[in-house]
Structure formats: C-alpha cells, structure tokens
Amino acid sequence: MRIGVFVCHCGSNIKATIDAEYIAAQVQQDAKVVHAAEYPYLCAEGGQQKIINAVREYQLTGVVICACSPRMHENTFRKTAAKAGLNPYQIEIANIREQCSWVHKNKDAATGKALKLAKAAIARVKLALPLFAGESAVTKRALVIGGGIAGIQTALDIAEAGFAVDLVESTPSIGGKMAQLDKTFPTLDCAACILTPKMVDAAAHEKITLHTYSEVEEVEGFVGNFTATIRKKARSVDMKKCTGCGACWEKCPSKRIPSEFDCGLANRTAIYTPFAQAVPNVPVIDRATCIKFKNGRCGLCADVCQPAAIDFTQEDAVFTQEYGVIIAATGYQVFSLDAYGEYAYHDSKNVITSLELERLMNAAGPTGGKLQRPSDGKAPKKITFIQCVGSRDITRGKPYCSKICCMYTAKHAIAIKEKYPEAEIEIFYIDVRTPGKGFDEFYRRAVEVYGVRYIKGQVGKIAEMNGILHMQAVDLLENKRFDTTADMVVLAAAIEPSPGAKPLAQMLATPMDTLRFFSEAHPKLRPVESATAGIFLSGVCHGPKDIPETVAQASAAACKAIGVLAKDKLITNPCVAKVNDKKCTGCGRCIDVCPYKAISLESNAAEANPALCQGCGGCASLCPSNAMDLNGFTHKQVLAEVDALCR
C-alpha cells in the first residue's frame, strides 16, 4: 500500500487554527505513507492537479485528504482520483474543518485532534477496497403532486421537453388558490384570465395526464425508479360521457353546502364543479351531503343527465404507475384563527380574512363582485386591514413572515378604491415588505395616488356592537393610543402548508422542517431539490412565496427533473450493503430495519438490492451474525479507525 496524505489550508479556514505543516510531517512516520504535503486550496484546479501529479509520481494506491466536510467536496475528490487513474473509492476524507478548525480555538489542541483524525483516515484507507458504481435505468415519466399554479407550470415545462407527466390533484379541479383570487399584484391582472389558459394547456397537452379528485397513497423506490399508488376517488360521474352542461347541479335539491371554493361565503350543491372554469369541467358528487347516498332517495341528477353520465355505483379506482421523478407542489392553506379571539373573527361576520375578501371582490364570487358586508349586504364605507395576524408570532402563530400579505393588502386597497373611490381604507402594519420588481412602486401608488391610509401600529381588540366594529388601536408614529370604528375588517392571516404535505413527506421519505415546509437540499445553491434524490419541490410547499416566484421555482424544479429524465442510466452508489451468505442465518432482522425495503430473503439468506440500498448501515450494525457489511464502511474499516483514534 502506498498512501499519499494531502492537508488543505482552505485559505485561513483551517490554517488559522491548525498547523498543516506539522500534520504533513507527522503522518510520514507511518511506513505506508510515502508522500505527504499541504496546499492552500486542494479543491481548486491547481490543488487537484497537484494530487493527480503526486499519484502518478509516487505511484500512490490510496489517498487521504484532510480538508473540509465530505459533504462539500467528496464528489470533487473522487473525480480527481478517477482522473489520476485511481479507483474513486480508495480515497478517504478527514474532516478537519467543520469538525475541528471551525469549532475549536486552542491551536495545540486542535492540531492534535486533526492529526488523530488524519491517522484514523489513514487506517481506513489501508483497508479500502476498490468499488465500482453500478447503473440503474430511468423511467421517463414524471409525477407532479398538486395541481395549483406551481404543479401546472412544472407539468407544462416537463411535457414541453418531451416527457410524460401525471398531474395529481386532490380537489375536483386543477387551479389551486390562484383560481380563487380576483386580481394579482403588481400588474392587477385578473387571476383567472392568466391562469385558465395554463389550465387548459395542461389538460390539452398530449404528454400530460390529469388525475383530479385523486390522491397519492403510497410511494416506493428511488430516483429513476419510483412506484406510486394513486387512488382516483369516485366522482360518481363517468368522465367519458359527461359534457359539462350543468343540468345536474341546477336540479340538485341539496343546495345548502358551504362552498369550499367560496370560503363558506356561498353554498354549493352536492353534485358540483368547484367553479365555472373548472378543469376538467366534470362534476363530482360529494357523497357525504348527497341525499341519494345518505338515504337512498333522489337521483334527480341522473334523471336529467342526457348523456347518462351519472353513475352512483362508481367506485374508487386505485392504480400503480412507475415514475423517474416526483415533484411535490402541494401548496398552502390559510391558517386557523381560533387562537385569536380578540379579533372577533368567529364572533362577527364582518371580520374576514384576505382570501374571503378575494371571493367577495371576484365577479364570479358569491356577491358577483360587489363588496358587501356579509352580515347585512350593505356596502362598507370604511374598511380596516390588519396585517401580520398569526405571522411573525412565536407565541400563538407562525414565527415566519408569510411574505405575500403586504403586497396583497396594497392590491386589495387599490382594487377597492378603483371600484368605490369614496371608501375609506386604513391599514395597520408593522412593516411594509415589498421586495419584488415594481412592488414598492405599487405600494406607494396605494398611498400617494389612491389615498389609502397606512398606520404604523396595530389593533388590540375588535368588538362588534350594534353592527359596527369598534377597535382599540395604536398609532406608533403619533405615539397615541386611540379607538376607531369600521364597517368591515380584513385580517391578513398567516399561510401554512396544506394538510396533505406532512403525510406526503413521510410517503416520499423526504425531510420537512418543523413548520411542515419541505426542506431543500441547500437553501442557497439547491433550492428546488429536496434532500432525497429524484424528489423536487415546487411552490409554497417549500416556503411562502408569491406567484412570480412560484412560477420561476416551478420551472426550475421542472428543469432539475428533466435533468434526470433525460438520462438513460443513472450511476448508483456503490457504498451499499453486502451479505456474506456463508455467515447469514436467514434471521431476517435486517429486512425489518431497512427503511428502503432493499433487503429480501433468497434461499434462506438475505440479499440486498444495490439499486434500492441507500447505504444507511442500519442492517450492518444490527446483524447478529456479522454477515451484513457495508461497502466503503466495512466493520474492519470502522474498527481500524476507532483503534487509530484511541492510540
């Protein structure tokens, strides 16, 4: 064995605390170390070339690199080794930065520790065997979970690149929250006008298959080779026959069901499409509220349906499909205001959330676009907006800023003033956050052109008495506490991930933070990839964002997905579990512990599938017969490492 040891300075990141020269000198005391050197930046081209030259000059058969965490540059150095003609798995990295120079201040102690870490790596590389990466095939089909603007955009981009996409949406129509909006900032475009063309494109695209009123139930597999089980809930309507004429919902006698799409401000029927531009334009029977399903009487819809599309016997259809990549686009919901009783949201009908205001302002909404007080239908003369309800709140709400509220409230103020120039509007804010293109100018228009009164302050209590909303308020710039009244109050409530996000994260075995947003692989450099290979993130399921950012991210996620789908083969990780079938007793304990279902019993001995195995090592540490081992992290290597540390 001829080992070369390279100690990186990493500029001053390592050098400031660790004596690299000393380490390079000390390691040469080991007979097997034939060369040792230190360099300012090993990862740079110059540094890498020096390693390659040394491998050739000293005929090295193993390399130890003392530098930053393998999470940073393991791949880089493996490629360097390959270029030098060495097996890429006969290099070892000693992390003397994140685990040494960055966490210790005492130079002597840190250098001593770094030397130990180097020696441990040397012990491991001595036992390193050459490993050869395998290949796995790629299924050229994508699964997009969530049919809002994020999912739609991602699906369209992947389809345009020539790959098949399945778009799964749990509600009866695609469109998501954007379909509920009236206008969008900062252009004041009508949301439906810019969304519906994309919805129609998604439905019409030959490469996209829509699965609405459907849910993903199970996901197995790994990048390039996922298998998903999807349940298409029974619509009770035959999609092939239905023409979307609407005769059924006109006749439906069950008319008092609060419409989810209208945030409960209007009712729908039991057989319904959520909104007029629904895609697909095929209704669904809500069996929980349908009279026929509840007590066997009715069936009027079937009577009036000309194409005989109603099918009360229809059952859920479950199917499995293979995919190469999966994109999560599950979006958001407005969070519950139950803990904020002081705002009288449940007590008064005239205290509403911003999303409810969108429905009231929308020409296709419950009031035909007329702004009316929900309690008595009168036009409000004075409207108060309260920002940050539940956001930036570490006690009862969400610690984060929901990002979209400052802009949508300015939009609401402008939209109301456009229709009702006489209306008086005041907005209580903590800060006004307008970071996007044209955003600050938009907000200033609200103040300077439309005369909207922005008050830096907050409201402490709302009480509706005799039809008027009385509020306790404070104006911080006047340093004055005052009482005020309004006809209607709009609360900018926090947004949070949809309820389906958490079960989905568990199904996909992908990390999520404590706020139920999907975690990206790296917040700066890898914002649309999850930490699990082959799973990508699109839209608010990753973090609060507005429509321009969502569309940008959706396309980025599509691009990453295409990067996988475009390959015919993926290189698999060779650091996988390996069984010594002479020692294996077939006890099967490894099978129970594997989170990737990679192990099976074949003729009474365990067998690990190298394509599914992710190299976690759970089976190897558990095996009572020592039959299971992990390539690249063998029992012998680990023990040699421990031994070197203890000397």
């Binding site: 930036r392 570490i394 006690t395 306790q472 404070v474 506490r481 009482d483």
Partner: protein, 110 residues
C-alpha cells in the same frame, strides 16, 4: 431571561393597542419596552403610566413575541422609592367596598 425578552420585541404596538388603560397613560406599554432596551430604564421608572397598570395581562396575552410589559411595569415600581399612598384613606373608602380592593390597591401602589 428578561433581558432577552426585551430584545424580542419588534415594536408592533399590540400591547399598547390591547391595554385598556393606555388611553389614560403618559407613556404606553410598547414604549416602556423600547426605553428599557435602550438603557433608558429611568424614564420608565419616572413615568406615571407604570402606576396605572392594572396587571390585567392583556398585553402579554396578545404580544406575538412573548414580551411581558406588565412584569416590566411591576419591576420598575419595585425599584421606585415612590409611595403612592392615599393621604386620607377614609375619603376614598365606601361602605360595602370589598376589602380585597383595599388590599390590592395598597399592595400594587405600595
């Protein structure tokens, strides 16, 4: 512990908006926190407002950052040498007045 509590305040003003007595105060609760953070605790101690605090805890209940202005007021009262006793108690006492009113008033006002 209370130092970091003061630093969490984002000066949103909800405490002052929630305070039932703030309209009568010379210095509202959000300002006590602001001055305390700037090392101007004496301004708070000299304010009449801290003696008007009812300890109803609306400020603490509605603060999104877990700040406790009512506790701050009480701590400033404890540091003060001022004693707000009534010169002639009998003027203010009414028959049928529950004695917890007297006990509480004297305790808080010290």
């Amino acid at each position: 512990m209370w130092k970091t509590m003061i630093e969490r305040c984002m000066q949103c003003g909800r405490c002052s908006a929630a305070c039932p007595v703030a309209p009568f105060m010379d210095m509202p609760p959000h300002k006590w926190v602001y001055y305390a953070r700037n090392g101007e605790g004496e301004r708070v101690q000299n304010a009449g407002a801290i003696w008007q605090c009812l300890s109803c805890f609306c400020c603490e209940a509605r603060c999104p950052r877990g700040v406790k202005p009512a506790q701050l007021a009480e701590e400033k009262r404890a540091l003060s040498n001022k004693v707000v006793l009534l010169e002639s108690l009998s003027e203010h006492v009414i028959e049928n007045m529950p004695q917890q009113l007297l006990v509480a008033a004297l305790r808080k006002a010290r």
